[in-house]
């Protein structure tokens, strides 16, 4: 069987098309060598008789129909792996870029992974204390969860991610089993640098594996970057027993890369030009988070994405939230008021917290106080809307109380310093102090016995 072919049949965006191919296999890796000696890699994405469509990771610029030789590897893209990947930096295809030489692999894994058999999953139940009240108290992060940050340009999503990395405590285990896999997808180099610097400052750099596809790197590699990162994460988690936190940013750039490829394939688009399979494609990555029965480690994902125009109904955040187990949404208005981290309480949600907080997990009062804070803060929004129409002075007494509660809640609960680390008890106490500033009969989400125990009748809430 012939493995190497001269010449191409057609070049179309990031795709090259070859003719007269025999024996190629679907999704196999190909290597294209230009006359200059430069090598590029690609992947077979469509086959029709002897025609193969190949997606070129580094892009097709400078390729001509006559200057390329194509070699079929017979294999899918595999990532070389060993314990040495910790502390290393790779490009979007998994080649080292830090000048420290190749990895001597003890295994090579298909970057697409294989689906976890759903019956082999262990339902995640251990919370990760991030030390951030808005998260720990109201959208608790659970080990093995996928919890994205939805942000907008200019909002401090990176700072939040870094604070989480720095403060994250898995309450019951030692930190030597903790690793971070970081995938930079189409982000500017200053963002990647910011993360590197922060990892260094918090002394975790040797626990980090980085995969970088920067804004000016080839678009097609955006597709492989998160997959390489997740393959590395799976290796560390399920073969080395580590608890891995995967940060992937920016999933919007990823999806735009996918859109670009789809449109050069002339596929039928669904919303905003994104391919109809965007959901399945994103799911094939997000679902790689989790815990597997009988294995020690875990993968927790924090994908970050910027919502174009702050629009949460845009397909990328929308489909992401349909797959992930909740979302942390950042709010421009809060940020403008100086509330950092500007976590929008009402729009944020951790799906997994329902089974992982309360008695035996965090504290018996956690579900009720969380519920009440949500509900009362939702009420604040109503009152604010009313106040903006009739003026604050016209508000009833109780409504004014809500206005004050809202402000105190934002200033003292949501807002916290970049290096302020509050433990779970502190967060919950803060919640009780605040609701105790509201009349008891307003607290309709709390079970009577819990109210009796924690509500401070004389409390003023400090507002």
């Amino acid at each position: 069987m012939k493995l190497e072919y001269l010449d191409l049949y057609e070049i179309k965006g990031p795709l090259v098309i070859l003719e007269g191919i025999e024996g190629a296999s679907y999704e196999e890796l190909v290597e294209i060598t230009l006359e200059s000696g430069e090598r590029r890699t690609g992947r077979v994405i469509k086959m029709d008789e002897d025609i193969c469509v190949v997606q070129v990771f580094e892009g097709t610029s400078d390729i001509s129909l006559k200057n390329a030789r194509t070699w079929f590897s017979g294999n899918v893209l595999r990532l070389p792996l060993s314990g040495e990947i910790l502390g290393r930096i790779f490009d979007g295809k998994g080649s080292p870029t830090d000048g420290l030489g190749a990895i001597y692999p003890d295994s090579r894994k298909d970057i697409n992974g294989l689906p976890i058999n759903p019956v082999s999953r262990k339902y995640p139940r251990n919370f990760i204390q991030t030390g951030i009240s808005s998260i720990d108290g109201l959208s608790t992060l659970i080990r093995g969860q996928k919890l994205p940050i939805f942000s907008g340009s200019g909002l401090p999503h990176n700072e939040l991610a870094v604070q989480i990395v720095r403060q994250a405590r898995i309450t019951d285990e030692d930190n030597s089993k903790f690793a971070i896999v970081f995938a930079a997808i189409g982000v500017k180099s200053d963002v990647a640098d910011y993360f590197t610097r922060s990892f260094k400052e918090s002394g975790v750099l040797e626990k980090v594996v980085m995969f970088q596809n920067l804004a000016d790197d080839p678009v097609v590699e955006r597709i492989t970057t998160p997959r390489c990162a997740l393959t590395a994460a799976e290796y560390l988690a399920f073969e080395k027993g580590m608890h891995v936190l995967v940060i992937m940013t920016d999933m919007t750039s990823y999806s735009e890369g996918l859109r670009e490829i789809s449109s050069s394939l002339e596929e039928i688009p669904s919303r905003k030009g994104f391919p109809g399979y965007l959901y399945s494609d994103l799911a094939s990555m997000y679902e790689r988070a989790g815990i597997i029965e009988g294995k020690e480690g875990s993968i927790t994902q924090i994908p970050i994405l910027t919502m174009p125009n702050d629009d949460i109904t845009h397909p990328v955040p929308d489909l992401t939230a349909y797959i992930t187990e909740g979302q942390l949404v950042l709010d421009r208005e809060l940020a403008q008021k100086g509330v950092h981290p500007p976590v929008s309480i009402l729009m944020s949600l951790s799906r997994l917290m329902k089974d992982s907080i309360g008695e035996g997990f965090t504290r018996e009062d956690h579900p009720d106080i969380a519920n009440q804070l949500f509900a009362s803060y939702a009420k604040v929004q109503e009152v604010r809307a009313l106040a903006s129409v009739i003026g604050e002075d016209e508000l009833s007494e109780i409504d004014r109380r809500y206005m004050d509660f809202g402000k105190a809640f934002e200033d003292r609960f949501i807002k916290q310093l970049h290096d302020e680390n509050r433990d779970m008890n502190k967060t919950l106490e803060l919640g009780w102090t605040l609701v105790s500033g509201l009349p008891r009969e307003e607290l309709d989400r709390i079970k009577p016995e819990i109210l009796d125990k924690y509500y401070d009748e004389k409390g003023s809430g400090g507002f």
Partner: protein, 598 residues
């Protein structure tokens, strides 16, 4: 390269779709084996000598010219004891068995028979030589789980006279248990039968719905009930509670069998069911919930074509148990992911798309699916039902998108989940103005018998208070609550009790997660009574603030927690408290001159 006749060969590959040439005998919807790994596929279109096949496993690594084997059969499921309590993927591969074969990840080309063909069942034969049997006739029984008697039926299309029966005893699903003379020869019958998933199993006739699927969820049972044999849609944006609602129904509804299809959703949700259901007790049988549940799990990261099949696999299994005379509830979470699978495959075929890239046949596929629900008289004379509850995940929370709109056409209950309710943690976030049930009339006789003849009127009154509240809130938004007259302020207070105390239901509280019809109705009654009495007080000129201060409203809001499901006597106490308060205040205000006090 096998280009020999009888077998075809792969001529093209695009994602989950493979094109095959060289075998003109491939039939539409025929199941085929693709490639050297024998991946399962299905023929979905034929164009001259080229067949289009959707492959239920990953196509990575396939090559042009690999063989495509025909099987001569359509994609079918195997039916027999051993289904309940199991977890299958979209093409009925038993997931627990696959773990034994390939570990915790699903490798390609692995296979295990379903249901288990080695397990021996203790079978009771119910026929004797000389008996006439027909399609659907029940010929034997075996206890499939502690709470379920499996009825072994004659497969559709087979009739004749029993010539030989095996003795009662232990048999596998493939062992012969009886032999019949069909008139054209002898035929052996075992407990196993196959049925093509895309065809509905036959029944004698449809029967009008008259009984609700009791779910124990107040907003459903009292406001927007679903009939046994009916269809319901749960549309809602991400995180609004579709899965939670489906899980609640799977746990607590009074069905004999629950078929839960996790279609293109999260792996952890399946893990959740597998961890929680075995520990929960079916409120009726007292047995583990898993003893009446079968899961079809084709999560979002599993092959998309098998996701398309999962819906059919699930409904076919549901029909099989319906045929035994059981009430089956089927949950599909989410039908939107199924529709997207159709869209993805259709896109690969370069078919002309209709709205938003969905194929033009989307509406007909949806209607065919929902049409397989129903309350029926079976071929064997028993009656059974399938109720379908389909979650819909509208993109961008936009209910005008094609899947939501078309589902609305073919379902008769619409439980619209509302983002703003979910944001304020009002759960279940079923919006009471947008939701509806078209079964109210058909079910009213049942409800009147279980409650009293005022049921419909009371339900209407409750809805009216909520409607009045929405209207008033429009005004309040503009000018605040203070300017409203007392009677309207009271309406707001009462409506709040109804929203918080009645519509909201806490899935995590033992008294509230499931509530029997009697308690539901008595809660509704006491809230209306509260409304009536306090209304009267306001009419007498007693200020709302005085009424609210009584704490009665709070107490009644909390009754869902304070009154245990198995002892409703506390409700009478609440009623007495209302009366006492009413009398006390009336007395006080009439002594001091009533109206003048305000």
């Amino acid at each position: 390269m096998s280009k020999d006749t009888g077998k075809g060969y792969i001529s093209g590959i695009s994602g989950p779709v493979v094109f095959a040439k060289g075998n003109q005998r491939l039939g539409m919807l025929e199941m085929v084996y693709v490639g050297h790994n024998r991946l399962v596929g299905e023929v979905i279109s034929i164009d001259n000598d080229k067949a289009v096949i959707q492959v239920y496993e990953s196509t990575t690594g396939l090559k042009i010219n690999e063989p495509v084997e025909s099987t001569g059969n359509p994609l079918s499921v195997n039916l027999g004891p051993g289904i309940i309590g199991e977890v299958f993927d979209g093409i009925q591969r038993p997931l627990h068995e696959l773990v034994k074969k390939s570990g915790t990840l699903i490798e390609k080309g692995i296979f295990a028979p379903a249901p288990d063909n080695t397990k021996k069942w203790n079978v009771n034969i119910l026929v004797k030589p000389g008996d006439d049997i027909h399609p659907g006739s029940i010929i034997a029984e075996t206890e499939e789980t502690a709470s379920l008697m499996h009825k072994v039926m004659v497969p559709p299309g087979i009739r004749g006279k029993v010539t030989k029966v095996s003795t009662d005893g232990e048999y596998t699903i493939e062992d012969e248990i009886i032999e019949i003379d069909t008139g054209k020869g002898l035929e052996k019958i075992s407990m196993l039968q196959k049925w093509p998933v895309k065809r509905g199993r036959p029944f004698a006739q449809r029967i009008p719905a008259y009984m609700p699927l009791v779910t124990g969820q107040r907003v459903i049972d009292m406001m927007f009930p679903l009939a046994k044999g009916g269809t319901a849609a749960i549309p809602g944006g991400f995180g609004t509670g579709k899965t939670m609602t489906q899980h609640q129904l799977a746990k607590w509804s009074d069905a004999d069998i629950v078929v839960y299809i996790g279609c293109g959703e999260r792996g952890n949700e399946i893990a959740d069911v597998l961890e929680s259901f075995p520990k929960l007790k079916d409120p009726r049988s007292g047995r583990s919930l898993m003893d009446r549940t079968v899961l079809i799990a084709n999560t979002s990261n599993m092959p998309v074509a098998a996701r398309e099949a999962s819906i059919y696999t699930g409904i076919t299994i549901a029909e099989y148990y319906r045929d035994m005379g059981y009430h089956v509830a089927l949950m599909a979470d989410s039908t939107s992911r199924w529709a997207e699978a159709l869209r993805e495959i259709s896109g690969r075929l370069e078919e002309m798309p209709a709205e938003e890239g969905y194929p033009a046949y989307l509406p007909s596929r949806l209607s065919q699916f929902y049409e397989r629900a129903g309350y029926v008289r079976n071929l064997n004379g028993t009656t059974g039902s399938i109720s379908i509850i389909g979650a819909v995940s509208p993109q961008s929370n936009d209910f005008s998108e094609p899947v939501t709109q078309n589902t609305k056409r073919f379902t008769r209950c619409f439980w619209a989940l509302d983002k703003s309710l979910a944001y304020s943690r009002h759960y279940p976030a079923i919006n009471w103005t947008e939701s509806y049930s078209e079964y109210i009339n058909e079910l009213s006789e049942w409800y009147e018998e279980k409650t009293d003849r005022h049921f419909r009127e009371k339900r209407t009154r409750l809805l009216a208070i909520l409607q009045e509240e929405s209207r008033l809130m429009e005004i309040v938004k503009l000018i605040g609550k203070d300017v409203l007259p007392d009677s309207q302020k009271l309406t707001l207070e009462v409506a709040k009790v109804i929203r918080v105390g009645f519509l909201q239901q806490n899935a995590f509280h033992e008294n509230d997660t499931f509530v029997p019809i009697e308690k539901q109705y008595r809660m509704l009654n006491i809230m209306l009574y509260l409304s009536e009495r306090t209304d009267d007080l306001v009419k007498k000129g007693i200020p709302v603030s005085v009424i609210v201060e009584s704490g009665l409203f709070n107490k009644i809001s909390q009754m869902k927690y304070t009154i245990p499901n198995d002892d409703l006597s506390g409700i009478d106490d609440l009623k007495s408290e209302i009366d006492e308060f009413y009398n006390r205040i009336t007395l006080k205000y009439s002594n001091t001159g009533g109206r003048n006090q305000t």
